[in-house]
Structures are given as structure tokens and as C-alpha cells.
Subunit: 305 residues, 2 copies
Amino acid sequence: MSEAALIAALELGGTKCVAMLASGPDAILEEVRVPTTRPEETLAALEAVLDGWRGFAAIGIGSFGPVSIDRQSRDYGQITSTPKPGWANTSVARRFADRYDVPVGFHTDVVGAVLGEARWGAGRGLDALAYVTVGTGIGAGMIARGQPVDGLTHAELGHIRVPRLAGDDWSGACPFHGACVEGLASGPAIAARTGIKGEDLPADHPVWDSVVDALANLMGTLTLTGVPRRIVLGGGVMVGNPHLLPRLRTATKLTLNGYVVRPELEDMDTFIVPAALGANAGPLGAVVLGQQALAERDATPFTRV
Amino acid sequence: MSEAALIAALELGGTKCVAMLASGPDAILEEVRVPTTRPEETLAALEAVLDGWRGFAAIGIGSFGPVSIDRQSRDYGQITSTPKPGWANTSVARRFADRYDVPVGFHTDVVGAVLGEARWGAGRGLDALAYVTVGTGIGAGMIARGQPVDGLTHAELGHIRVPRLAGDDWSGACPFHGACVEGLASGPAIAARTGIKGEDLPADHPVWDSVVDALANLMGTLTLTGVPRRIVLGGGVMVGNPHLLPRLRTATKLTLNGYVVRPELEDMDTFIVPAALGANAGPLGAVVLGQQALAERDATPFTRV
């Protein structure tokens, strides 16, 4: 049964990677951290860990991006155009699929997080959910009908352009878009604008008005995709500044202005909620990616997916 | 085989409804138009049509909205909060499911259109596609992995708020959001702003700058969902003003500014394309909705979906 299957789960992060042998949060058998250095060194270290493990039925990988999740494409399973030195065009999923005779699930870290939160966290039992991380970058992952919402690529909704607060003409910090949501509300954007890290800024600093406004527009756009029954928020900026969440709920209600009429939207305290899985969200999300790859293989027994 | 199954397809529109007995664009056996009046009169007229037809294996319904597509909800299959007199909270899908002993597929007209364009039209063979109608309203439908992208409800991305062109402070025509995309670029918005219908405005009228800018932001946001391998555009404003499409392609490229790196995005002439199914898009989309309902029933033979 794939639900309880043991998975070799990998979270590939910008500074560290986590390998976890688990079938869920209550069944974590092993957990190993490896620093993210050059790809050859890092991936070989992860392989050395997996070589020592027995009994995993699949591998799940949640990676920093951008990655290619397009199975119709030759570059499927690669980290693609990342600025991280040495990592552009690094094959990840195929490398592990070639080495271990098990199905491999592969997606972004944030899609892993939304799958993990839907299985065991703040969106437990929901088949349609969004997860947004507000930290070094701003990323969004969605699932609908229990599956990642993707196609050409994974979501990059942190980069949508949004209206500006009246009188706010700061140019923004995104090298591509200036004042997109990430360019206005990510940790580096806040630091670039104020010269102070977010967690050291008082709650009444005027920059938060701009941050809340940009994030509320992102929440509004996510709601208008029709997908999420709930939006789960994580990332260092959210965790480090607890005053943001209530303000964001109020601002999101204002931006929607009653347009989408569903009971779930009446109480923003239950529609926009903090992440529940904490530091384990990444590797546990990768566990679900592995379990989905296994279920998919079992659903089509005559072909290796 | 559900691919070739004969479907009783219904397009419910604001002014007229179309009933079509068909298995595809090359196999249309019957087609009947019924004016949209009061719901009891209109739905009874459609039932009278279907009562006379034999051999359909499923019913597909693409409806004007908003509708409830949430199968976990008691109001599934209803037209919900429409301002159209008499139609709010009208049960549609259950009514036909109760009368005919076949599976019933139900979604918005625009999701029907994206399914039809993906099967037989401008997105043929693509499993991930977006369709946008720019007309009386602005609606977007997406499919990913061949299925509608939905959850809490269907997409309402025509109502996203977008940055404004420098110097443009017109308040917009949307009763909920003022200058959202629909409030800036729908047919009624253009007419409200200029006093002239879109098709009578010259291509060099300055209002088109604002329309193109708003629509390009919608194209950009759709692209950043990660879903569409192509975006198909229809609706009266697009069809009636052919100068818009090339301008919109250029503006979309500018707003993305090279951020999403995929081969499909390099040539905007093949990424953003006009709809191909024309007047038959609605009922043919409903044919696909019926075929999907049939396939779903056949995939789970022990329960009626």
C-alpha cells in the first residue's frame, strides 16, 4: 500500500539538503543533513546516504528551483536556470532513477510543502490547497484534485505584478520585474528597502503596509484561480513577523471584496493559516512526492513511469 | 469507448442555450437552440429536446456562472450567485442527472471551451492549456494533466487586480473591484469609458493601450501559474478587434521579461493564439465534459460518480 510505503525523501535546499527515510511524520527512521556545495559533491553525498538505506519503495525529491517538471521535455528532472553557481542544468531526478530501481517523484520544494501540509499539516485532508512561502524568495505551490497544478512548468506566482499602494513608488528589488510581489515583500526586498532585516523592524514600520498590500494581492490572485480551499503560509518573513498574518487576512478580504461567494471564504482565520510542519515540511513533502510516484507506477503496471 | 461516445451536450448561455447531440465536431447529429428566459421554462425546453434523443451515453453541461463545481458541497451543480434574474441558486446538473440515467459532467462554459480547444481546436493534443474569453465579461479556464484546474470553485482570474499604466487613473467598470482586468478590458468597460462600442473604435484610440496592458498582465499571471503550454483567446472583443492580438503578444513578452525560460515562451505567436472552434466552442466543450464524466464513471465501476 503506497500510503504507508517507506520513502527515501530528499529536500534540496540552497544551503543544505536533507535526506529522510520515512513513511510519514510519525515514522521517520533516518534523517541526514548534507551541506549544499557543488552539485557533484552534494549529490554524491546524498547517494552515499541512500546507498546505506534499505527498504525504500520510492524516492521523492523536492528541490529549489527553477526545475523542469515537464515530463514531455528532454530536461525533465533538472534544476534549470538557477543563478546558484554550478547548479544550472543539473540532472537530479534521472540521476537517482538510474541509480536506484524504484520510482522517483520530483517537483519544487514548495509543491512538496503543499503536498505535505495537505497530508499531515495545516491542510489535512484537503484535495485542493495552496502553500506560499515568504522568505528569501516568494513561492507558491498549489494542488488540485490531490495533484500538483502544473503543465508547462511549476507555478512562479511570487512574480506576479500587482497594483501599488497610493503614493508608493519604490522601484522594487526583483531583477526581472522590479516591484512584483517578490520584489516588494521578500526578505531581501524588505532589507534592501529599509536597510534593516525584517525581524528587526518594528511592527508599525511603514514598510509593512506595502508588504501586506503586495501579499494580499497574491492571496487574492490565488483565490481567484479557484483552487485553494485554504492557503497555508510559511517562510522566514511570516514566521519572524507574527503581526503580518492578521493584517494579511484583513487585506485579502478587502481585495476580494465579496466577489467569490463560498463558505470557506467567510472566515479568513480558517482560510489563511500558518504552516504546521515546520522544519520537516521539506522532507515530508518529498515523502509524499515519492508516494505519488509509487501510486502512479502501480496504477500503470505495464510501464515504468 | 468514451472517446467516441455520443453525448447530449448543453451550453447554457446568458441569452441562448444550445443542445447538441454529438461525439465530436465531425459527428454532430442534432443541434437545437433555445432562448434563455426563466430557468423553469428554459430547462424544461432543453429536457423536451433531450427526451426526443436516443443513444447518448452521458450529458455534458457548460454553463454561464458563477456555478458550484465543488462535489463536496451541497450546492454542486447549481448556478449560484448570478445577477441574472431568476437564475441564482438554480439546480442544473442534479436535475439532468435525476431525469436521465447517464453520467453528467458540469462546469463553466469557459472550462468547456478550454477542453474543446484542447481536444479539437487551437490547443489540440495539449494536456495543459488556458482559454480566455474577452467579451461581456473576462473569464479564464485552465486544464492541467487534462483535467480542469479547480477546487474551491472555478477560476475567476478575469477579476485579478493589476498595475495601472502610468497616468491612467480611470476608476474602472467592475462593481466589485473597479479597475480589475474585467473592469478595464471587457466590452462593457470599453464602452463605459469611451461611450463607443469596441468594434467601432479605431485601432489607434488611446483606450486600447489600457486594454492591452490589463490583458497582458492577465496573460502574465496565467503564464506564472505554470499551467498553460499555450493560451487560447476568444470572445467578442478579441474577435472584433484583430489589432489586439499582436499588441497583446508583445506586451505579454515585456511583462514576463524573460523570467520563465521555456522554449514554448520564445515565440509568442504560437504561445498566444486565437480560438479555433468559433460558435461551436461552447457545445463541443460540453461534449468533452460529458465524455470526461463517462470516463470517470467507467474508471470507478462500483460507484455512480
